[in-house]
Amino acid sequence: MREKTPKVVVTFETTTDAIVFESESKADPEALPGRIIPVPSEISAGCGLSWCADEQYRETLLESIESKGLAFEGVYGVCMY
């Protein structure tokens, strides 16, 4: 049986902000590790987009958000499959 692992999940106020993450990650995957996933329901109900990476990349992500001036709504720690 698969086990849940800790993830860092970044949420966005707008879909466009999420796509900016995707675009920046494609250009520089090491600086922005992770990928877009549907927003986990434990964070928000609905059908929005969020960015998910392994918890070990939290600091890398936060540094990139800061240095690139990327817009986001919140950063969460979530255990997920």
Binding site: T15, T16, I19, V20, S23, P38, G46, C47, L49
Partner: protein, 381 residues
């Protein structure tokens, strides 16, 4: 075929445009609809187009670019959203029906006061008269950047400054100028740029949009699917979803992105200069033919690459048909959805034959059209 109806729609596109549409139509999921790879492919391409439009017009944020079906829809969104009973709006007689009809609908249905500033018989705008048209309750000036009949470009930076002196918002119809003439929203003081994708941006028909300056807010013209925030009763407040209800034309916008990349590669100034040079060559070749009257082309701000003309009292439709039947030359006769401009130029009943050029045209094609006009004129004059 020789295609000189580029002011209506550009027919010859950069090859990458059709390739992008073909790729998109076989690989895209719904724009903003899910986190799977097919949806993200669409999202990324639409975002790239948004960013390219923002760069083209120096719009501060890609998020302030909303896509629409065409500039008519964009202008309806703006005019319907900004004006209400008690407001006054200013436009000019050079406006296309995509500006005039939404304004007149607001006038007739909601009592909005509309002033149309006259254009003279040479196609010129009297800036003093434009300035005098503003009133204390003027909410909006919405003007064409260039006449779709004559191609003459108007000084929108000066017009924006006057509008702002009177506390009004300033909106341009960039149907004829986007991709052809430099537009810098911030330097020119433009609050909203409306554009269409299928003319000098070389995108497919069914693409267009608008760019909002920071702080400009519009109510949604349509409400519906947004892909996110589905449990909220109303359309999301944030841009661009606020103005983009329903699945966007991702396939078309992918083609538009390819057109925008072509423009970025070649430069707006270069493309516009090439269009204008072909128009100048044509004008030089026909202006002294007996009975030929060239409309406009007397302004000081340049021309987008159009020569509109008449021959004596000949019906413009008959000339356009002869050009098509005899030389396979495509031109546009009639009224060009610019009724007040034709009134200004005295060509309501006759219309005019509009030759509108693209840099994809050649000098040989222009020379063929000059020769065709010589033969047509020789037959009737």
């Amino acid at each position: 075929m020789i295609y000189f109806d580029n002011a209506a729609t550009t027919m010859i596109k950069p090859p990458a445009v059709a390739q992008a549409v073909a790729t998109a139509i076989n690989t895209f999921g719904g724009v903003g609809r899910g986190a799977h790879d097919a949806a993200l492919s669409a999202d990324l391409q639409v975002y790239r187009a948004r960013a390219a439009v923002a760069a083209l017009f120096n719009c501060p944020q890609p998020k302030n670019v909303a896509f629409s079906l065409n500039i008519t829809e964009s202008l309806n969104i703006v005019i319907d959203g900004l004006l209400a009973n008690g407001d006054h709006a200013v436009t000019t007689a050079a406006s296309h029906n995509s500006v005039l009809r939404p304004l007149f609908r607001k006038r007739d249905r909601e009592g909005v006061d509309v002033t149309v500033v006259p254009i003279d018989g040479d196609g010129l705008l009297d800036m003093d008269e434009y300035a005098r048209s503003f009133k204390p309750n003027t909410k909006l000036a919405v003007v064409t950047h260039a006449s779709n009949l004559t191609g003459d470009i108007y000084d929108v930076a000066a017009m924006a400054a006057i509008a702002h002196e009177h506390g009004a918002l300033f909106v341009i119809d960039a149907a004829q100028t986007a991709g052809n003439t430099p537009i810098d929203m911030q330097a020119m003081g433009i609050d909203i740029v409306t554009f269409t994708g299928h003319k000098s941006l070389y995108g497919p028909q069914g693409t267009g949009g608008l760019c909002l300056a920071p702080g400009i807010e519009l109510p949604p013209y349509k409400e519906g699917g947004s892909g996110t925030h589905s449990y909220e009763e109303r359309q999301p407040e944030f841009m661009p979803e606020h103005l983009e209800a329903g699945t966007q034309n991702g396939h078309g916008i992918a083609g538009l992105a390819a057109g925008l990349a072509y423009i970025e590669e070649h430069g707006v100034e270069n493309l516009g200069a090439a269009n204008a040079a072909l128009a100048d060559r044509f004008e030089k070749g026909v202006r002294d033919l007996p009975g030929v009257r060239i409309l406009g082309r007397k302004g000081s701000c340049g021309n987008t690459g159009i020569v509109a003309l008449n021959v004596g009292d000949m019906d413009s439709g008959a000339i356009s048909d002869q050009l098509n039947q005899g030389w396979e030359i495509c031109t546009r006769p009639g009224a060009h959805c610019a009724p007040l401009m034709h009134e200004s130029l005295g060509t309501v009943s006759q219309g005019a034959v509009r030759f509108s050029f693209s840099h994809f045209n050649t000098e040989e094609e222009v020379d063929t059209a000059i020769e065709a006009m010589r033969e047509i004129v020789a037959d009737v004059m």
